[in-house]
Symmetry: C2
Subunit: 347 residues, 2 copies
Amino acid sequence: LQFSVVSIGMDNTSSVRGQSVGDVGEFELIDRLAGLVSGSAAVVGIGDDAAVLDVGDGDYVLATVDMMVQGAHFELGDTDPEVIGRRAIAMNVSDIAAMGGEPTFALISLALPPECPVDFVERIYHGLVYQAGVTGAGIAGGNVTRTSGPICIDVTMLGRVPRDEVVLRSGARPGDILVVTGTLGAAAARRVARRDGRKDDPSLVALVDALPSGPIARVHVARRLAAGHIPRAMLDLSDGLAGDIRHLCSASSVGAAIYQDRLPISAETRAICASLDVSPVPLALSGGEDYELLIALSAENLAGARQAAGGVPLTVIGEIVSTAGEVTLVAESGDRQELSLDGWTHF
Amino acid sequence: LQFSVVSIGMDNTSSVRGQSVGDVGEFELIDRLAGLVSGSAAVVGIGDDAAVLDVGDGDYVLATVDMMVQGAHFELGDTDPEVIGRRAIAMNVSDIAAMGGEPTFALISLALPPECPVDFVERIYHGLVYQAGVTGAGIAGGNVTRTSGPICIDVTMLGRVPRDEVVLRSGARPGDILVVTGTLGAAAARRVARRDGRKDDPSLVALVDALPSGPIARVHVARRLAAGHIPRAMLDLSDGLAGDIRHLCSASSVGAAIYQDRLPISAETRAICASLDVSPVPLALSGGEDYELLIALSAENLAGARQAAGGVPLTVIGEIVSTAGEVTLVAESGDRQELSLDGWTHF
């Protein structure tokens, strides 16, 4: 390694040094950075929903981090600051749940511009504290840093899981059924309605207001499923089913078939889409921010899974197949096509 | 709590809603946010160098987070990206050390603008991986997020400490001596030389190059001192002695006297200051980024502390007094004055 001081700025290096972050995209960049990290002592390191850490004789410690950035994940005028805070916790709790764990402690790191109102920050914190409390996690510490740029809210969430109950992305086998909790597409429908909807249409506003105001991390379902050793593989749906299922397939070296007519889409989401004259299917496939669980399990465990899930609906949306990396969308007619990342179908 | 959607932006709220983040400053903001967090199950929560978490029967888990922001903590052209990465790890390891612990795992969260060269990010990561390796920590995971603003590098560091060896800021007692590891002011001297120095003066450049290129977190010293139950209170010097000592005094409800002529300032730092015609004292008192340990201990344990410290110099710089909140700077002449936060003296 060289640690000599260089005197070159960012702008004049990007041309001579080649690719930018925007060129390679999030996932290739993470792969390249993960390649620089060797020999971590973590039981499971980069590449699953959370890291699995062995810190003693008891449960494994789980650890995950995710950042929300103003302009990318929220807009000042569009989003209630409490909802921003709730979402920042929920998205991380969801990663802990996807490992079969329960959240324990959160650390909150904020980058704030000096002109940001204290009131705004306090309301974000109200949301953080509220959502942490709902999910059983404590806020153990944090940090505040000055920035000249957008507000950044970085949440590190720790959790715990009994050693024999940790669920990875890598255990799915051909023949397993694919199940999702809850419904898909609601967050995307809300976003599209805000962006494209008629702001003065009271019926559309009423439909959007009827959507749940924040994501629900599926901790209790995940814990009960994991304790019953039911999931072979599990992850949480953050970017959208069409993209996230590839992570599960890649980690498990399998493929998947998804049945379009089985996608669980709520009546409220369908009504918003009807009002906007858009199809709910792409929103359910790739709208993102669902924070539901995608679970691969043996078909014979479905009844047990439903029992463990209590009142939370579990919907069978497809199955695992042996052709590694191939994700197929099956239409009601039986027609099949490769599932595109953006969820748009050509049926 | 209200979670209704509001439609107000940042700029038009700051006037009606009152104070901005810049108005109240970092420490008042943290106090106000900490006041919103109630009933955390952490053994020690917000307010020490790291949170102390009880996760089972074994050692306590320590957790801390700190962010580096482009423009505030580094400039693209001024700082070698490997050094940025090394510093991001070292500043967090230093917080773990200040609790008497050793670092175990780091999570790295990056906010990156799309135009940022991949090469630049990879070099930051080289620094992160290098410094983590030096301090015995593994990089267990991380996250990459898009931003329209400056690069943010948020490092969460976990550590561990035996339950009876954790060192807080709150145990200092009147009569304790105050000791620092290593020397103070080198990072500030480098910064001033870069900013104000004659760029074409080879002797100044040579002096700056002779400074250590990155901070050294004092993990081994801290561990040995803690294992010997020597420190009554300890913290790491990140913002500068003049400010940081107030945190120790506040947590311990004591005051302190610092002897100006005992401040450990290296020959290299003194030479740079002589070349720039500035006093090294304010740099040592409030330049910041020293990442040395400030330790309050009983005078009778000084010999034991020196033995535990091995080759790392320990310098007695002052003592704890009973007048809570009063931090005095004592000149060689014996004159005393309140130690100002910016470290400038009026002797």
